[in-house]
């Protein structure tokens, strides 16, 4: 006997198909057109390997910074019931929706020679613009909020009863954070950090403005692709495919872990 569910309306299917096509076709195009004859040479050239290493290492470092400092932040935001906390939450999420150019201008206005911290950095003989550190900083700025939001959601959904019981036993805030909250939320936190890493990997616009473009020091994969586009579109396509596959991998991992997150009590 066939399943008892009514068939979904063809209209709904049709409309969904439109969006699926718009989202998926460009990626299919990349895959089919990006695997040309010169693909292997493009992928193994020193410039590519350099850019790949730079992208991976700066994203990893940015992720580390975000997780170490963002986890306590998300935890505190989730525990607090004060009104101004909601405003802080909005502020902290803002960089995600900023256009890359705005983010770039904002970072320059803060850490540049003529920026807010310019004189201080100058006095400490630190120049952030055009350095590898600038890439890490940019990634923290644009991708950090993604982690904070995910972690915040995870911490907010911990059963209040558990926390109350722990407190009644005499557990102090730090112990509860470390031994109860973190372990319970671990899958969700990992999922959020993978999302953050994927975003950091793909960061381009603000990085170009703030960190510049120097092979070996600041030329990340997206920058290499953009530069390649100026002279060799086929090469750009192949490199884009590589970045697409990397990002897809991170995203898939993130989703499968977040499914595992629905933990049994």
């Amino acid at each position: 006997m066939k399943a008892l569910h009514p068939a979904q309306s063809p209209t709904l299917y049709g409309m969904s198909l439109v969006l699926v096509l718009v989202l998926v076709l460009p990626m299919i195009a990349l895959i089919t057109q990006g695997l040309g004859g010169d693909a292997l040479r493009a992928l193994s050239s020193p410039a590519t390997l350099q850019a790949l290493w730079l992208s991976l290492s700066t994203s990893a470092l940015a992720l580390l910074v975000v997780v170490v400092f963002g986890t306590p932040l998300s935890y505190l935001l989730s525990r607090s019931k004060a009104r101004w906390v909601e405003n802080l939450q909005t502020l902290v999420q803002l960089p995600v929706v900023l256009p890359p150019a705005v983010a770039g201008v904002a970072l320059l206005s803060t850490f540049g020679q003529k920026g807010l911290l310019g004189p201080l950095l100058h006095a400490m003989e630190l120049r952030i613009v055009f350095s590898t550190a600038a890439i890490v900083l940019t990634s923290v700025f644009v991708a950090g909020p993604l982690y904070v939001q995910g972690a915040l959601n995870a911490f907010s959904s911990i059963d209040e009863e558990l926390l109350l019981v722990a407190r009644s036993m005499g557990a102090k805030s730090l112990r509860i954070f470390w031994q109860i909250a973190l372990p319970l939320c671990r899958p969700a936190l990992i999922s959020a950090s993978l999302l953050c890493a994927a975003r950091a990997l793909g960061e381009f616009g603000a990085t170009l403005m703030f960190a510049g473009n120097l092979p070996g020091r600041t030329q990340t994969m997206p920058l290499l692709i953009y530069t390649a586009m100026e002279s060799d579109f086929a090469r750009a396509r192949t490199l884009s495919l590589l970045l697409l596959l990397l990002s897809a991998l991170l995203l898939a991992l993130s989703f499968s872990l977040s499914r595992k997150w629905r933990v049994q009590p």
Binding site: L162, L164, V165, R167, S168, G170, P265
Partner: protein
């Protein structure tokens, strides 16, 4: 062995008056009342989540809160054992780890901790279950773990919030019997919140009725039955129902 309860509990927002002196040893107080009468709020006030605006809370001679002097201990310092409605076992810790957690919060010495945990495991017959996770335990087993964990820190009193509400119908009776047995061996004051009359059947000693945020002094069930001056029709109806089923 007496309870002195002097409740004038008015659960209005920002106006919480409570006068509680809990001295009894080994006696249990049943807190009954219809849903919404404020039983959970009372527990939360005792635990320290809600500040009182007048009155005081003393447990076994220790002052937990005093509106007159402004004293109000935080939850962590009140030393009250608490078993919430669904037992509140940490899903990611084994039975032994649950007890470890509780004991680490109180004492610092490793050897003392280990001894306490070993003792508790024996006392509550949990040794064979020490490596199991809460999801692998039956309802009755979970109850044992929750009680063991609440008591391992040597609290001043034990608070139980609807301990049998989470049980499914088949095992409820069994678990109730087991709970009765466990509580017989406890010498601490115990306050149990419930709306199930069958719980009163087991412990028909001291009953306090909560009604619209008001709490009447605890007295034996017989007295409660005889009292016809119930404050609200709803409460009286509930009480009659309750008593009828308790018989």
């Amino acid at each position: 062995m007496t309870y002195t309860f002097d409740f004038a509990f008015v659960a209005q927002v920002g106006n919480l008056a409570l006068d509680v002196d809990i001295q009894a040893q080994g006696q249990m107080l049943l807190l009954i009342g219809p849903n919404g009468s404020g039983k959970s709020s009372l527990l939360r006030t005792l635990l320290g989540l809600v500040p009182i605006t007048s009155g005081h809370i003393n447990v076994q001679g220790r002052c937990l809160a005093d509106a007159a002097t402004g004293l109000g201990l935080v939850t962590e310092q009140r030393r009250l054992g608490y078993v919430p409605q669904s037992y509140g076992l940490f899903p990611h810790l084994t039975v032994e780890q649950q007890l470890n957690f509780a004991v680490q919060c109180r004492s610092a010495e490793r050897s003392v901790q280990r001894a306490s945990v070993r003792n508790a495991l024996e006392q509550w017959d949990l040794i064979s279950l020490s490596r199991r996770y809460p999801r692998e335990l039956s309802g009755g087993q979970r109850q044992r773990v929750a009680l063991a964990r609440a008591l391992i820190g040597e609290p001043l009193a034990l608070l139980l919030d609807e301990p049998l509400a989470a049980q499914d119908v088949q095992s409820k009776e069994q678990v109730r019997e087991a709970l009765h047995d466990h509580l017989l061996h406890i010498t601490l004051p115990v306050i149990m919140v419930t709306h199930d009359p069958k719980d009163a059947k087991q412990w028909p000693e001291w009953v306090a009725v909560m009604d619209n945020g008001q709490l009447r002094s605890p007295r034996p069930v017989a007295d409660v039955l005889a009292d016809s001056s119930a404050r609200s029709a709803r409460s009286w109806g509930f009480l009659q129902e309750f008593v009828a089923q308790t018989r």
